[in-house]
Symmetry: D2
Subunit: 399 residues, 4 copies
């Protein structure tokens, strides 16, 4: 039997706390770019190994360093001056049964294609210098991780994952605002770059949403055009917010601007990586896409880790997945926090402890939902290898 504990969460639901802080670094933020590259490289390597040898071999690519470049943005179109430098770091099995596998080329290709798609205004090879240092790793780790029959691996580390559900209103606004801005909105408004950073702060029932949005100079004719672009973003986010909350929402965009002095958030590429902002993996969003100081968070970087056997990655994604599944299927839950703790040597579908702490809705007792919750947790743990599959297929986001 799995060790699954359900108990009452020892605090108010985050939704009911007095002060709440939420942040999301958008796709084009230097830290998110590194997360995205690391994860994309990881997926490409998984696929390479599956294609070539039928199983995922040892690798770990959870480090990517971005050193910022410089640019001279100008209304109507400026130019990059110094390229952004991106170094992919990690290790990967390069030889298997006498065959040499193109791991470095695969990593570069994945990273380049991801960057081209995510920051189209940056021309990789000219505006971005992309390099890789992939070692072989130590002999001990060289063992092969099977995947064809989706065997459950043993935990090779003591690690910890934590997930939450449901999102609070503020969390949802922050998350969705970034997704929509980088999705439908950007499709219609090329002047909005992918480096959108959103900070949400709720005090009581007043929600402040602060957006830092990098504008792309080629699509901004002059200062009036810029100010109108900023206003459009503000209106869009205000609108979007009202569909998630009845609370009072106040949206501010590019508050650090000083239009009089010409100090505005104008870029050539749409990311602050052109303006001295460095980045690396694991310093931004957690596995659920948010930074939430009101909730326990794992420090573990999820992006770029091997999805077959990295227990920290799997447990962070799985605990989030479990929390969401429980909240979706079980009524009467106001806040849920799921923690998974591994034990070295145990199969990862049998954590040392799986701990589901819950704030129930008024009139609902923990005992009312306990059995149903345990069942869901148990089933998801049993199918832990699904997480691996979904990561490789790109169904699960890590940041």
């Amino acid at each position: 039997m799995r060790n699954i504990q359900v108990s009452e969460l020892d605090r108010r639901a985050v939704e009911d706390q007095d002060v709440e802080i939420v942040e999301r670094k958008g796709l084009g933020h230097p830290d998110s770019l590194c997360d995205g590259i690391a994860e994309e490289v990881s997926r490409a390597l998984s696929r390479l190994y599956l294609d070539r040898v039928g199983k995922v071999l040892h690798y770990n690519t959870d480090e990517t360093q971005l050193a910022a470049g410089s640019a001279s943005p100008a209304f109507g179109g400026g130019e990059l001056l110094e390229p952004v430098y991106v170094l992919i770091v990690g290790r990967a099995t390069k030889k298997y049964q006498g065959r040499t596998l193109p791991v470095e080329r695969t990593a570069l290709e994945a990273a380049r294609s991801y960057l081209n798609e995510t920051v189209p205004e940056l021309d990789v090879g000219t505006d971005v210098v992309l390099d890789a240092r992939l070692g072989e790793g130590s002999g001990d780790l060289q063992e092969v991780f099977g995947e064809d029959d989706a065997q459950v691996p043993e935990a090779n580390d003591t690690s910890f994952g934590v997930g939450h559900a449901p999102l609070t209103e503020t969390e949802r606004i922050v998350l969705e605002a970034e997704r929509e801005l980088n999705g439908s909105y950007a499709a219609d408004h090329p002047e909005l770059g992918p480096d959108v950073k959103i900070m949400g702060k709720r005090e009581g029932d007043a929600i402040d949403i602060t957006v830092a949005a990098a504008m792309v100079d080629a699509y901004v004719a002059d200062m009036d055009d810029y100010l109108a672009s900023v206003d459009r973003v503000e209106a869009f986010v205000s609108d979007l917010a009202t569909s998630y909350t009845d609370r009072e929402v106040h949206v501010q965009v590019n508050t650090a601007d000083d239009a009089e002095e010409g100090s505005i958030y104008l870029t050539t590429s749409g990311t602050s990586a052109e303006q001295g902002d460095d980045g690396s993996v694991g310093r931004g969003n957690r596995a659920n896409g948010l930074i939430t100081p009101n909730r326990p968070m794992s420090m573990e970087a999820t992006s770029g880790k091997n999805p077959v056997n990295h227990i920290g990655k799997i447990y962070n994604l799985l605990s989030t997945d479990i929390a969401e599944a429980v909240v979706e299927e079980v009524d009467g839950i106001r806040d849920l926090q799921v923690r998974l703790l591994s034990q070295i040597g145990r199969p990862i579908d049998r954590p040392h402890v799986a701990d589901a702490q819950v704030v129930t809705a008024e009139g609902v007792a923990v005992s009312d939902v306990e059995a149903e919750m345990i069942e869901i947790v148990d089933e998801r743990l049993a199918n832990v290898t699904d997480v691996t599959r979904r990561v490789i297929e790109g169904e699960l986001s890590t940041f």
Copy 2:
């Protein structure tokens, strides 16, 4: 007047919670090495600027990437095979009033000296390739930050810092065990390398301390010697633990070892950076030296940031400092959490909100301690520039 709020903390003291998890990555862990290098480079640049121009100029060196090397450890002394690669990334003002300042040389010198001291078995220049990419940063950030008269700067970002006190027993054990192992113990036992990682888990009154301790092969004659070394560490930590708690403590060292198969944690340099473990800044310990998923944590990397004006760094250090000061001076506090939230454009000694949440001891009301607490918080905020000074003088640790 400063906006200082004191309220009851909306949960039990961490000491009283059922499950507690605490981790500390020791000085020689690849992530900590990066934190240490980044902070040491930052301090060296601050001192350079103060020496040469009387004030700290703009810089930010909060990124350092370590790409692991490889080694073939052997009882009695093995050897490094591939060097560890360390890239210092950031930006710094290189020219001021017509003078060119040796920022890259200063950064390399600080990093090298820190590495030589922290991992003496690694010979920087042969075992470690140390490189730096320090840009100039964008024009807008080029402004100069005064320091001669210790003016209070304005916040240039919305940022958040959080601090706690007192440490729980488990936290104290984890923190002190690593410090002692890397201090007095290592001084007497050269076989213990600086890469000591400690995980503490408390369930109810049972504390498990798991230590991963890299042994240095030159000082380990054979397997018996190794096993004896592991036992010595275990005994030392067990002893130490009893001075911090009356709870039952169970210590395990190098649990992943398989002595039969010769798979043990033996290294040539004393750090897993020789064995495929990469590292970067801000992925390990928080500003109080610990990773504490039971407590709110800031994702902000503290190490390497400019201590004069980086609001995230200052508020993380200051909130910790405030929490410790309050607990030391005010009786009846069982758990205290201090949060500081900046507002763009306001002097940083006047945060948007300074929020002290407290779990009082039995028989103590929040109102009993509120006035005293506010006074201390207020006084510390007034002296915010002390944080800058103490960081530059190396009195405050950031990881």
Copy 3:
């Protein structure tokens, strides 16, 4: 008056010597790739400066290092495994009158475009990691070199250039064979890669031409196809040779092949840079496109140097140009060697010595051609700035 000396050359014409050795590294050879990149970057920077500030500012980009990658070629199409790494090194003026110029981006763009054109099978950004380290240079060299009115600069170094004409039959065959193979032949035969290396050896009247020709696997179906491709190259070069000489010519292609053992010159990209052959600037062809140990050669790397003021570059190109002009316009010259030696501080159109040594045809005395020769040398020296212009416009090749 210019110091122009005409004298009899103190040896037989190279055409009449017993043994002659000539070599040309084709466009796709790693050393030539570096030469080509360096020169292309130089031209791009010259144009950048002319476009933006009306004159060529200080720069020097005569160093490019190529570190080879690896590949696993296969009939019908193999793949790159490890990328080729190319580092552009040099210095360039980055700021001028308050404007920042995109020198690094310009350099990367020029190099990438050159590589894409020269080795189309290599995808820069995936198969090639392209990086640049361009410093600012020392203050003393920071002065600006005028070009608008094409002023003649002063020599800033003691340097030496040497040129020859006419080419011997062997030289012509080697030079033209590579040009045709990389030109019309490759256009029709995509299986021939750009890395063609040709060695010519003449002993008396027997000329041996040895060709090493990298075949591109995607266009070679099998071993028979490969052998046929090799034969085609041999036939082509044999044919071509007969148009330049009546001597007996023996052509061999890919002599190191061992078809039985499957050890053949098959590549994925068409260059040995995918097979462990590193490259750098100035180690291959001299300014006239050849390596000719029978003739005096300058060690000076011509590619990548600033064409406005680098005396070594200008004199190597100019001496070759003069030799060719003299031979074209003056009858009765069997071999001509022109040397230009600079003197620090003198205008470069007035070399310390311009020395034309000649082997005249039978029945022609030096005195018969001296006056005409001096006139041509004098006129070309007077128009020395033409060299600069022609280099920038790409009319003069440097390797």
Copy 4:
């Protein structure tokens, strides 16, 4: 029988020509630093392989790229600003019979130790960033080269080596002046840095020696001291020259100086690598230590190549060695040029042609010396593997 041909050299002895140009880049010149590092790394790898596996395995390290740094020299002692960057490039066998060999560490250690010794004012690790990119090379070249029984390998390339003897007076002055300046003189005069570049030009009987000597600021108190230091070098070289010639010698040191404008050749480290002068292998001195446009030269870089099987390296060193031996043992030789040409697949002690061309002294016929010459050439060819041994033991210099 070996194919050894002796004939009359088809020109006057260089000593008798009207104009002669000779150059030597001293040990501290950026190009020479790269030559020295490459060769030192090569020797260290040879020794590593011999120590560990009893034979020299495949490697080639004939590429090293130096990207200059910057400094602000000042009387009494200035400082480095930006570090010099040195990248060692090549390939080496990293695994042999299951053992992993520390080739990168060995390369870094050799390079660092060489730099520390050659440019003591540069602190490697702080003033110099030293990095290495050593690939594995392609499979075909992976074969092992025996050395225990000193078997004669077969030529794997068509290559060419050329050597000369005796040195002319001008050559001897240039060579010895640099050696003495960097030897006994520097030992007594720490103000003289190792970057000494000497150009010799002889017109008829007038010899001009131009020395560019980097002075080290820490040992130069002021301008008077500097000028005195320059004068001392001039006097020393003038003195030295008279012991090699009766011709009129005119020595100039640091002719580009402009003391009035403070533009002098003052450095902090003693090398122009701190002042924007980049360097790479094979662009400076030929195997005999000189650049001699009056004589045929091989373009082949000798430094860093594998001394067991690289035919270009071996033949360049051997031809020089043969020429010197012949001139020492046979009377009546005024100028001698030895050329060795390999043929793919033949043992290297049996070159395709060994060609000794001679200018005899007055009254001596070629036939008088032919037999003796052939004997010496034959004997040296028979002992070709001595070259390998002497290179590894550091007895033969390559630049």
